[in-house]
């Protein structure tokens, strides 16, 4: 088998590849594996976008004490299809002053990183499309492309709201990349691999990484909402402030693509959360009963539900508050986290201790995270509680002496000019 095929780990089709390898050139095997894998991922992503539209509208409806879509099909299940048809039918408008070539590019560019992210996920023990050795690095690199597309969209629209939104995105993405890279360092240090599949395997042998690096989980959760432009960090498309931000001028299916990408990215972020910190396809042996890829998808939707919940509950940060959160709170916490984990790993290796040492590490890290978060939170929110959040009640008021109301007829009106 070709060495390239090591990247592709599709055990369900193992016999097929072996059979092919005997009869055709090795690059054909490589190609077949790539096509099957890509088709599978595109199917999941395409269906996922449709399901997410329904799930998001339905769940937010429930959170907001209303019913959500329930007219098109049973439980409104066909609603996303109706939405998509409506968006495709709509006329695609383009402002006269927009830069035509650049204006048409972003909806396409923004789609690429959203799709590419799924390539490195380990869907099951032997189901990885691209088992890259530097998988975590790849995820970080891919997620930066979105910023480029969004900035092109905001710039080429020639609209001030769009430009403001784009500027906000760039500022925010650059800020949040830093704590995000730092928080990915911790699990990578601990597991000693950058491959996503490798990280999942490590968790299978030891325990969920979330127990050892809880700080990273928190930091990634917060950074992810910022990267996704979702509440509480949806400043890029803050509806109440800058209308729709960078996609203000996009209509029809071009807007639809931005909307779909937002939902797909939510899945991608949930997938990263599930793979890196919550065991991916592994779930305490349950994966032997239920197919492993179903467990992974369920985990993805578990975290996606969390994102929907946040969106339905929280108000939005202001841009400087969001930047302050990244640079003043998340970055120091991430640095402390990396230092602590690195020290622990060093002790583990130098003292040549067994795997048992991970249990006290987990206890220490969870306690440390809780303490640090509480301390930071107290410091940051102290000034909001300077004044009580309840009003003063006054029973009687001081009324200055009013001129005595004489009669209803104070003076006769001037007669109408004839």
């Amino acid at each position: 088998m070709a060495p390239l095929l090591n990247w592709y780990d599709f055990d369900p089709f193992h016999d097929l590849y072996h059979w092919l390898d005997k009869h055709v050139e090795s690059w054909v095997v490589y190609l077949v594996a790539a096509v099957i894998g890509s088709a599978g991922i595109l199917t999941f992503v395409g269906l996922g976008a449709l399901v997410n539209v329904w799930l998001e509208r339905r769940l937010i409806g429930r959170i907001q004490v209303r019913r959500g879509p329930n007219r098109v099909g049973p439980f409104g299940l066909v609603q996303p299809v109706a939405d998509a048809i409506k968006l495709i039918q709509k006329e695609v408008l383009q402002p006269d002053a927009a830069d035509s070539r650049l204006f048409n590019l972003p909806p396409i560019i923004v789609f690429i990183p959203a799709m590419l992210t799924f390539a490195v996920f380990a869907w099951a023990p032997d189901l990885v499309l691209a088992n890259l050795d530097a998988g975590v690095l790849y995820l970080l690199a891919i997620s930066s492309i979105t910023a480029l597309a969004i900035f092109i969209a905001g710039w080429s629209s020639n609209n001030k709201y769009a430009l403001l939104g784009a500027m906000r995105v760039i500022a925010m993405m650059i800020s949040y990349e830093v704590p995000m890279v730092m928080c990915f360092l911790a699990p990578v240090l601990l597991a000693g691999t950058m491959s996503v599949a490798g990280l999942v395997q490590w968790q299978q042998h030891h325990f969920l990484l979330a127990a050892f690096v809880p700080m990273s989980v928190l930091i990634y959760g917060l950074s992810a909402t910022a990267e996704l432009n979702r509440t509480p960090a949806d400043i890029a498309e803050a509806e109440s402030e800058i209308v729709a931000g960078y996609h203000t001028e996009y209509s029809g299916m071009k807007f639809g693509l931005f909307y779909a990408v937002e939902l797909i990215n939510s899945l991608a972020v949930s997938g990263i959360m599930a793979s890196l910190f919550f065991g991916g396809w592994w779930l305490f042996g349950v994966e032997k009963v239920i197919p492993a890829w179903i467990i992974f998808i369920l985990k993805i939707y578990f975290f996606y539900f969390g994102l929907i919940w946040l969106r339905g509950t929280l108000p939005r940060f202001r841009i400087d508050q969001l930047m302050g959160l990244a640079w003043k709170m998340l970055l120091p916490l991430a640095l402390i986290n990396v230092a602590v984990i690195a020290t622990e790993v060093l002790i583990w290796q130098e003292a040549d201790l067994g795997g048992w040492v991970l249990a006290p590490y987990a206890v220490v890290n969870i306690a440390l995270t809780a303490a640090l978060v509480v301390v930071f939170f107290r410091i940051v929110t102290a000034r909001f509680y300077r004044l009580p959040t309840r009003v003063i009640l006054v029973r009687d008021i001081q009324v200055p002496a009013l001129p005595a109301p004489a009669s209803s007829a104070l003076r006769p009106p001037t007669p109408l000019p004839q």
Binding site: S240, L314, R318, I397
Partner: protein, 368 residues
């Protein structure tokens, strides 16, 4: 080394914008995201009501008052009817006075639900608090519907009373709503008041100092949020407010958050007033028979009430004919809006939107 600076640029917030609560436009000059100048452009919803009213009889003018502050039609009706009654010297039956108080306070709860819900929306919450508050507003509108047939533009008050007596099914509905309402308000407060993001967005933002508030003749929750205890219901009682026990909430700091919590508490006080009014509600007629073309004696009258947005005043001049000679409205939204520029210069766009939301304007009332 020369300092790099970009020239200031102008962004139109409105007239079509999700957060201007109607067709209202702020011409904001920005330096980056910071506002260095704000000019308010009004008149997109001008319907010439004050002039139109001069061609219509006093009774025909009541529907205009619905369409001024369409989120508080009852108080618009009430203010106008009080002015005409003052002009013509009409005594209103006691039952009608109590019904007016009940409906004005129900309207205050509904209007504050809307104001606070949209305020949290402006802070970026994705409609959730608004939907919770709509749930109770809906039940209040149901009460309006069963009494006078309309939900939004009620046209319920009449000169000399109210148009209909309440139906029998009104009492259980209003009693159950009033029994439930304190819990609901506690629920809103639990969901919002201790949310750090909301505090970060609204605390110390858009501060209105008490002296500026008085000089700009701001009224309503805007004035009370700045810590000045002033309420027309206590200062110059109309209807039967002098028989009611209630407190006036005032804020400490004059910021957006104070205005928000003042509205929250006012809802609770309104529930208190409605409960007392329902207990004291006497039997009797609900209006006095009057000629359709009412001709008040020549003269002028000014009546003011505490509408949900502030002091709503009607100034009427009669020349003895069936139509008013002059019909002038002192609308609280218009006067309260004038302080917006003082509030927002120096803040960012996001803060300006929050400040605008905390004033609680209604463009129908600003432009008339």
């Amino acid at each position: 080394m020369t300092e790099l600076r970009t020239p200031p640029y102008v962004v139109n917030i409105g007239p079509q914008h999700p957060s201007t609560h109607g067709v209202f436009r702020v011409k904001a000059t920005l330096d980056g995201e910071r506002i260095i100048d704000a000019e308010m452009v009004l008149g997109y919803l001008h319907r010439s009501m004050e002039k139109l009213a001069e061609e219509r009889t006093f009774t025909q003018n009541i529907p205009f008052t619905d369409r001024m502050d369409y989120l508080a039609a009852m108080t618009g009706n009430l203010g106008y009817c009080l002015a005409v009654e003052k002009l013509a010297g009409i005594e209103v039956p006691e039952r009608a006075q109590y019904l007016r108080v009940i409906f004005a306070e129900l309207q205050r709860i509904a209007s504050h639900c809307m104001a606070n819900g949209t305020f949290v929306n402006d802070c970026g919450a994705w409609q959730t608090p608004l939907m919770y508050m709509f749930r109770e507003r809906e039940r209040i509108l149901d009460l309006f519907e069963m009494t006078c047939g309309a939900r939004l533009t009620t046209n319920y008050m009449r000169i000399g009373g109210v148009s209909f007596d309440v139906p029998d099914e009104f009492y259980p509905a209003v009693n159950s709503l009033m029994a439930e309402m304190p819990d609901r308000i506690a629920e809103y407060e639990g969901l919002t008041l201790d949310n750090e993001i909301l505090l970060a967005r609204a605390r110390d933002i858009g501060v209105l100092r008490p002296d500026v508030a008085i000089n700009s003749s701001a009224t309503g929750p805007l004035l009370r949020g700045s810590g000045i205890a002033w309420d027309v219901r206590k200062a110059d009682p109309y209807c039967v407010y002098d028989r009611m026990e209630f407190d006036i909430p005032i804020g400490r700091n004059g910021d957006c958050f104070d205005r928000f919590i003042v509205r929250m508490e006012e809802m609770r006080q309104s529930v208190r007033i409605i409960k007392q009014a329902l207990e004291q509600l006497p039997a009797g007629p609900v209006n006095v028979p009057l000629p359709l073309a009412l001709k008040p004696p020549p003269g002028e009258a000014y009546a003011r009430i505490e509408s949900p947005k502030g002091e709503l005043g009607f100034y009427l001049v009669s020349d003895g004919g069936p139509t008013p000679y002059r019909w002038h409205v002192r609308s609280p939204s218009y006067i309260n809006l004038t302080v917006l520029k003082d509030m927002v210069v120096g803040l960012s766009i996001a803060d300006a939107i929050v400040s605008l939301g905390s004033i609680d304007i209604n463009v129908g009332e600003i432009d008339r």
